[in-house]
């Protein structure tokens, strides 16, 4: 029987019932503009302040350090560009990032290169862990900003952020981390983690699309990206998206409450990885243990990822691939390439990102279907034909 298995939670998540319930009264009743002086405005302002306070509790930081944005990409753009422009005035025009960042970070860095900044891209090992020795050699007194993601969106590898912060701060550079994939998967205590800035996105944690957040540590000043009215303490203009802010707040609280349940998700993920890597000529991409609880990324040789996705889609399984053929660029995943995966193998990668909702039956169903689709595609692959002939002669 055909099932429906959503295993693409790193792309986006469904909005949870509790989040919808938290947002509904804001649409229906408390629809005022928090900047208005009248009753409706004051009501909205109280709700906004309350949401900010509650989010500060989740991260163990101060509410004045929280800025709401429209999405993770805006937060990344703001943090990097805002810090770069601010530090430029101090004569610092060097940025260090990693080779495996999300495009929101990479393309912002590329744009800054065209504007006169120098950017170095620190490499990663075969598991996707940033090379700390190389990072140490790249960060100098001229470095304005070090920007390294907390956890990778494709292979799920969790980076040694605390050590990266130390390396950045030792040379007086600001440290920003794109935590879009990490939030909800890792307990982030900002009283202990000394990053200067941290970005997150609502739709990865069961809040709607169109809401993001940037944490900026007290005392850290960056330039504005969006000018206009004086919202967000004059740092980010635009009327506050109150229903979504409330939704984000509720989603973050729930994510924090659910952190202990991640062990169960990780167990299912491990079973998924075990089942998929039983397929001949397959390999896990990313670190075996230092990885997001829901992420399984496996490469299958001699087949191409888009074909695999199409067949899985027919079976009701939603997944993702690092193959070039699934994008307009015709270049396979920059993350896998940076990890040293050859182009031909990067084309056959499959990313499955499960959630608390994923059942044991779903895991069995995924393993069963991936196994049969890989076999089907290999049987029509000229590369597989060569492997079979080679094996016969041995």
């Amino acid at each position: 029987m055909k099932r429906f298995v959503y295993a693409d939670n790193a792309a986006t998540t469904p909005v949870s019932r509790e989040v919808i319930e938290a947002m509904t009264p804001i649409f229906e009743t408390s629809w005022g503009n928090p900047s208005s002086l009248h009753e409706k405005g004051r009501e909205a302002k109280d709700i906004l302040d309350d949401a900010r306070e509650r989010i500060a509790k989740v991260f163990n930081c101060d509410s004045s350090e929280i800025y709401f944005t429209s999405c993770g990409t805006e937060s990344d753009n703001w943090a990097i560009r805002g810090a770069a422009m601010r530090m430029k005035a101090k004569g610092k025009t060097h940025i260090v990032t990693s080779a495996i960042e999300h495009h929101a970070v990479l393309h912002t860095c590329k744009a800054l290169e065209k504007e006169g900044f120098t950017v170095d891209y620190v490499g990663v090992d075969a598991d996707g862990i940033v090379n700390l020795d190389e990072l140490r050699s790249l960060v100098t007194e001229k470095t304005a900003l070090v920007t390294v993601m907390y956890a990778n969106n494709e292979v799920g590898t969790i980076e040694p952020i605390e050590e990266i912060v130390e390396i950045a701060h030792a040379k007086g550079a600001l440290m920003f981390t794109d935590a879009v994939q990490a939030v909800g998967n890792v307990d982030i205590d900002l009283s202990k983690l000394k990053v200067d800035m941290l970005s997150l996105s609502g739709h990865k944690i069961h809040a709607p699309k169109g809401i993001g957040m940037l944490y900026i540590r007290k005392g850290v000043v960056i330039n504005n990206l969006i000018e206009g009215g004086g919202q967000e303490r004059r740092k980010r203009a635009g009327t506050e998206n109150l229903p979504y802010i409330v939704g984000l707040c509720r989603a973050l609280e729930i994510a924090k409450e659910n952190l202990p349940e991640l062990d169960e998700v990780a167990k299912k993920r491990d079973r998924l990885i075990e089942g998929l890597t039983k397929i001949p000529y397959s390999k896990l991409n990313g670190h075996r243990t230092l990885r997001l609880a829901g992420n399984a990324n496996v490469g299958f040789e001699f087949i191409e990822g888009e074909s695999l996705l199409l067949w899985l889609d027919i079976a009701g399984i939603c997944a993702s691939t690092g193959s070039a053929c699934s994008t307009a660029s015709l270049e396979p995943s920059h993350v896998l390439i940076a990890m040293g995966v050859p182009h031909e193998k990067a084309h056959g990668s499959l990313r499955l990102t499960i959630s608390r909702e994923t059942t044991d039956e779903d895991i069995d169903y995924i393993i069963e279907n991936v196994t049969s689709v890989v076999e089907k595609l290999r049987n029509m692959s000229p590369l597989w034909e060569d492997v079979v002939k080679r094996e016969q002669t041995v």
Partner: protein
């Protein structure tokens, strides 16, 4: 991105998948690095008619569908007719392809031409046509 029903039909039920033993012409185009490889096998009779055509493809949905359609379009035709097969004809027969996938149809056209060239070489006939080789490794 969305594929036409025809593309999905040829992707899920590809025609003429397989190998031909002692084929009269074999053509391999593309490379694994780019993510597409097509291998075409032709069986050609004494009158120059393609009596059988089979393929094996490593690639995306469009690569598989265009391979399948190309075999259908040349089977039963003469090699001269097969050489006139254009990628455009393959795309049209599939009710269109997304713009980023048009290169797959070019590959299908090249695969047929390369297999015919192999046949010409075997029978000692000069290869009097050009093959684009859009996916050759540098």
């Amino acid at each position: 991105m969305k594929y036409s029903e025809k593309v999905m039909d040829h992707f899920t039920n590809p025609r003429n998948v397989g190998e031909i033993e002692n084929a009269d012409g074999v053509g391999v185009v593309g490379n694994a690095k780019c993510g597409d490889i097509m291998k075409m096998y032709l069986k050609i009779d004494d009158n120059g008619v393609i009596t059988d055509c089979k393929f094996k493809t490593f690639g995306c949905g469009a690569a598989i569908a265009t391979s399948s359609m190309a075999t259908e379009l040349v089977k039963g035709h003469t090699v001269e007719e097969a050489l006139k097969l254009t990628n455009k004809a393959v795309v049209e027969a599939l009710d269109g392809l997304p713009p980023v996938k048009v290169h797959c149809s070019v590959l299908a056209e090249e695969a047929i031409k390369t297999a015919v060239a192999d046949y010409y070489n075997k029978i000692g006939k000069p290869v009097d046509f050009e093959i684009e080789k859009s996916h050759e490794e540098e």
